[in-house]
């Protein structure tokens, strides 16, 4: 069944997605710096190019030309591998994201998703679990006490919040009656799940904030305690990969929020693709906004909140959702 055209279309989709995602990640960095600057009554980077728009390029050049430093006592191969793990797992998750309803082009129906797996949700959960390896291995391989502490914290944090994230997705799957993301999007008309099940949405938002290891949950890097946490010993482009991975992660998590709770591409007037991106960018902005607003949690507060509040709450939510669904039928 696989003809040449299908292969070409898949390749084009891959290249497009990769290009768009990477550019988006780079400019998300820039946007974050500008927005944070404005939130703190500063200007932010505005020197490179008009309005500082070439700043991401300058950053890349800087990162590429910096010395790639390998600590003498580090575990060389794991040390080199870890940054890749962090960014690649994030990119792979885009395989299941449905950007818009299938397009009809050249008489063919082209699905706007690389691969519409019928277990898309599980695939996403699996990859997000894999992402923690980058942090843990990077922290361990550096052979530095700060890195190690950062790695351990990252591991603990991600494992804890993965539970509540997964549990908050159970109602979504229950309501959509499918693991396929496309089906989930389709199930959200007319009302998105964020409105139908706000508790699950809230839990999911908190959990992905923790998953992204960003403020207020940036405990693995905690600058004022751990220097730079798991990536203390990294420099140059290897640090860049961790850095980019974080922002790709933000994008994928925003996309997933869009897909699971905000109704995906659906929306009035504008084309579905635009709606999707608008929603995704809005969630990304929320991430930046949160960083500009909230202080970092303490490690014990984080654990306490995750295990003693969030997980029981999401379990309750699962039961409640199930009960309601049962009642409706």
């Amino acid at each position: 069944m696989i003809d040449l055209l299908t292969v070409v279309i898949i390749l084009v989709k891959l290249i497009l997605i990769l290009g768009v995602i990477l550019t988006l990640a780079a400019y998300l960095v820039f946007a974050e710096r500008r927005i944070l600057g404005r939130m703190q009554l500063r200007l932010g980077p505005n020197r490179v190019g008009p309005f500082g728009l070439l700043q991401p390029l300058a950053d890349v050049i800087k990162l590429l030309t910096k010395e790639d430093f390998l600590p003498s006592q580090a575990d060389k191969w794991l040390f080199l591998l870890a940054p890749g793990m962090a960014s690649i797992t994030a990119i792979l998750a885009f395989a299941v994201v449905p950007f818009s309803p299938p397009l009809h082009l050249f008489g063919r129906e082209i699905p706007m998703v690389v691969c519409d797996l019928n277990v898309g949700v599980l695939y996403f959960l699996a990859l997000s679990s894999l992402a923690v390896y980058g942090v843990a291995l990077g922290g361990w391989a550096s052979n530095s006490k700060y890195s190690l502490l950062g790695g351990i914290r990252g591991l603990a944090q991600l494992i804890s919040y993965e539970l509540s994230m997964g549990l908050s997705l159970v109602p979504v799957v229950l309501m959509a009656r499918s693991f396929s993301l496309t089906d989930i999007v389709l199930a959200q008309s007319p009302l998105p799940f964020a409105i139908l099940n706000p508790v699950a949405f809230l839990i999911f938002m908190i959990s992905i904030a923790a998953e992204s290891k960003r403020i207020p949950f940036d405990i693995p890097e905690a600058e004022n305690e751990l220097v730079a946490g798991y990536h203390t010993e990294y420099s140059g482009m290897r640090f860049g990969l961790f850095f980019v991975g974080e922002y790709i992660n933000v994008i994928i998590l925003s996309s997933m929020t869009t897909v699971f709770f905000l109704g995906g591409w659906s929306g009035p007037l504008l084309p579905p693709l635009i709606w999707f991106f608008l929603k995704m960018l809005a969630v990304s902005f929320f991430f930046i906004w949160m960083r500009g607003t909230l202080p970092r949690l303490r490690y014990d507060q984080l654990m306490h909140f995750g295990w003693k509040f969030l997980i029981p709450l999401s379990l309750l939510n699962v039961i409640a959702t199930g009960a309601v669904l049962l009642a409706i039928r």
């Binding site: 927005i35 600057g37 404005r38 009554l41 500063r42 200007l43 949160m290 607003t293 909230l294």
Partner: protein, 176 residues
């Protein structure tokens, strides 16, 4: 109540940060826009002279003792007229943190800080300022003070010649 406060405290800041986005940033674009520092601004250090044109510095080592980064060094010596002075005096500005402790410690008002903050160099060694680089020909912020007119050891004025001093005692006087 606590819960409510927690929720409120978590939500309210979002409003504040969001409002800030639309306010005017307070950034000054430095090389194009410049600020006039206040006269007491703490930047490049100078060694001033007293109103009579003499070096104020008596090389008492108090500035080097007060300096938290140990960037001041000197060697004191005596002039034929009994004046204590620095044969060499060196400030390593590549170390200096411009904290102003030296100026604070200076008992003769010799070492003072100026608002001249633009003197970065590419070569760190050129930031080691010697006495000839530091010594200026004015009194800095206080033009009136002359330490030796207050210290009663007879350097500028003869012994007992300062305004608050009695003439030297004659120990063999007949007066009781």
């Amino acid at each position: 109540m606590n819960l409510w406060r927690g929720i409120k405290g978590s939500i309210q800041p979002f409003g504040i940060t969001f409002r800030n986005i639309f306010r005017k940033p307070s950034t000054i674009q430095y090389p194009e826009q410049k600020r006039t520092p206040a006269p007491r601004f703490r930047a490049r250090i100078i060694l001033t002279r007293d109103p009579d044109g003499g070096e104020r510095c008596v090389a008492c080592y108090l500035c080097s003792a007060a300096c938290p980064v140990d960037c001041i060094s000197m060697q004191s010596a005596e002039r034929p007229d009994g004046r204590r002075y620095a044969t060499w005096f060196r400030i390593n500005f590549s170390r200096c943190i411009f904290c102003g402790m030296c100026a604070e410690a200076c008992p003769t008002l010799a070492i003072q800080m100026t608002p001249d903050y633009e003197f970065s160099k590419r070569e760190p060694l050129t930031l080691v300022y010697e006495k000839e680089d530091l010594l200026v020909d004015h009194g800095g912020k206080d033009n009136e003070y002359n330490y030796y007119r207050h210290a009663g050891i007879g350097v500028v004025n003869p012994r007992g010649g300062n305004p608050d001093e009695a003439p030297p005692v004659d120990i063999r006087t007949n007066l009781p």
